[in-house]
Symmetry: C2
Subunit: 387 residues, 2 copies
């Protein structure tokens, strides 16, 4: 029996490789000879660079960069040989007719590693003072002749700065009326009246893996929808949103781009860095879950499996809309395979293929500290009855 | 049946991966179900960086550097995750108690890629004007915080400059009596009276894979033994040898090293770059064939094989002294496995396990142009009769 084990992380409790390993132990407890194909998933946030790089025999590199609040953080990125990039992804990011060589690489960069919410203690979270500059430092670090494309995952960000911090690291400058430099934190935005500079010509093409479809501004914009969960006071949302709209106009004018770019679905991703990098670096948005699935060759692995197991901390309606474990469910069923989902919490009516890993009598704290064990047990029990 | 196919290159005709692939085709022609474990070997020369890097899931990087005569060449080096370096090699190069991390790498650098004889057209070969500076550029390129050790293969070099060219690239300067800078080509050596500068403190430890035991100077020295095959006129040997001895003394005095360092076995390797890097960078010599064998985990792969095939262009007594295919023969027999050697030319009395791939009636030119086909046929015929 071949079992595909494609879990995403259980937030605050267990990373995706840990969840997969726990589930594999659960399978083997019942079927010692089962072949477990462990495929830890990534939603573009924490773990994105590490998982994608490892999956394609790449190398991890580490740099000290500015964290969201300017403190120094250790951020990793990956380089993967173009030849090792799965074909379906290569087809999306390959510049036409490029003569691929042995030493051409794709860089895998993760915004969460440099500008992630998890890097900021809960009490200090404040998008008004948070910058994506560290992500820009990573982009600059991989802008080398051997890098033919940059793949950027933007989940889990702490910032709502339109990516202007990142743009300062690749050559843009923001000025006040007197011509002085302004650090483009949202708290300083009102002082910005002019932009200068540009990205270096040798910047490789940037592709942003992104599933959100929010525009940059308005009621569905970055500040309104994602600001509060990053620590933005609700009272500050209207001001930040208005200033974001003003700056976005300024950026579009400076770069001579269509004024509707901020309305593009996804422009509001990750505090608007999607907009900033589209405008400043010509970055392109790619559907994140699909891209990650292609990177991990999920379709082939589902096809090769007899049973498919997936899971994440909280599984709800939005999961089924096409992200991570939800996409595994959809693809697994389409391929006619038995699929089982394991989650700490289910946010939709439960059916036979949904398996809560948390016993009803367990406190949340206890559940979080024993997640691996709970997953292992739930999988083993499911194996006994349902497969 | 599991067949280990460990060929080195057939010089001027076929690289090691090509030779292994040809032999594998020969095996499969007779035994379609045989499992062929292809293990292309390296003698530290051309192909060293590529083969070692690929064997350990590393990445190749390319740089434009100065070739032996100062022209620009495209040289590749590899980075390999420390975790992927085979344990026996790691044990040799691991600095004690270093906290290995995800993003620690070993750099694999090949002198032949930057300063190789094959980069110089036959008519232009001249050690008096040839520099190892390009190798120094590669060493400088990999002197980065993530590189914890540099492994340097020095086979196939075009130079006889004591590695002084490489040392200029990592911080040393050579001066004439008037204090002016001298490019330390052998033709300029007589003008050098003083050394200044030093290597940067962040230079990672350098390990040189090297099998020759020649000292730097004298009748067994670099100039006398290897100079002529690199294009050095015999008449120039005594002068170059004497100047090399003088400069080596100067280097040892400047670096406050024991004056016998030039006599150390191996100091004369690759035009004396072994001496130069030992003196200037504290490089250490490692037995090359053994190190490469450990890198490829040859012992384990021989153990797992039912039959062992090896080969190279020319196989003679020196091969059996412990290099490449010779070492495979010795280890294969020690493990009690049937071993077959395939070569274009055998320089020792032939026995049943030696198989010439070149039919007697074939011209050398023809043999060189059809090497792959000849290897495939010889292996297929051997399979029929002997295994």
């Amino acid at each position: 029996m071949r079992v595909l084990i494609a879990f995403d992380k259980f937030k605050h409790a267990l990373d995706a490789p840990g969840a997969c390993a726990a589930a594999a132990r659960g399978v083997r407890a019942r079927y010692p000879k089962a072949i477990c194909d462990e495929c830890p998933l990534s939603d573009g946030g924490e773990g994105f660079a590490n998982l994608l790089t490892r999956a394609s025999h790449g190398l991890l590199f580490t740099r000290l960069v500015a964290g969201p609040l300017g403190n120094v953080v250790r951020a990793s990125y990956g380089l993967v040989s173009v030849a090792s990039v799965p074909p379906r992804v290569r087809a999306r990011i390959e510049p036409p007719a490029s003569p691929w060589r042995d030493s051409d690489h794709v860089a895998v960069v993760e915004m969460a590693a440099a500008s992630g919410l998890a890097l900021v203690p809960a009490g200090d979270r404040d998008p008004l003072r948070s910058s994506s500059a560290g992500t820009g430092e990573l982009l600059r670090a991989v802008a080398r002749p051997d890098v033919v494309a940059i793949l950027l995952g933007v989940g889990g960000s702490a910032t709502s700065d339109l990516g202007l911090g990142a743009l300062t690291e690749v050559g843009y400058k923001f000025h006040d009326a007197a011509g002085g430099r302004v650090i483009p934190l949202p708290q300083n935005w009102s002082r910005i009246t002019r932009i200068t500079g540009s990205a270096p010509p040798q910047m490789p093409p940037v592709f942003i893996a992104c599933d959100v479809v929010n525009p940059l501004c308005g009621p569905n914009g970055a500040a309104a929808v994602y600001g509060p969960q990053k620590g933005l006071a609700l009272a500050a949302v209207p001001r930040v949103d208005a200033e974001a709209a003003r700056l976005a106009r300024m950026v579009c004018e400076y770069r001579q781009l269509h004024p509707d770019l901020p309305k593009k679905p996804g422009a509001g991703a990750a505090g608007g860095i999607a907009f900033g990098l589209m405008a400043g670096l010509g970055a392109q948005l790619l559907p994140g879950a699909e891209l990650v699935g292609d990177w991990f060759e999920l379709a082939q692995r589902i096809q090769a499996a007899d049973v498919v197991l997936t899971g994440e901390g909280s599984f709800d309606g939005s999961s089924l809309a096409g992200k991570g474990p939800g996409a595994v469910v959809v693809a697994g069923r389409a391929a006619g395979k038995p699929v089982h989902v394991f989650a700490g919490r289910f946010g939709l009516p439960q059916t036979a293929w949904m398996h809560p890993v948390t016993p009803a009598n367990l406190s949340l704290d206890e559940a979080l500290s024993r997640t691996a064990q709970l997953i292992e047990r739930a999988v083993a029990e499911t194996c006994l009855s349902a497969m």
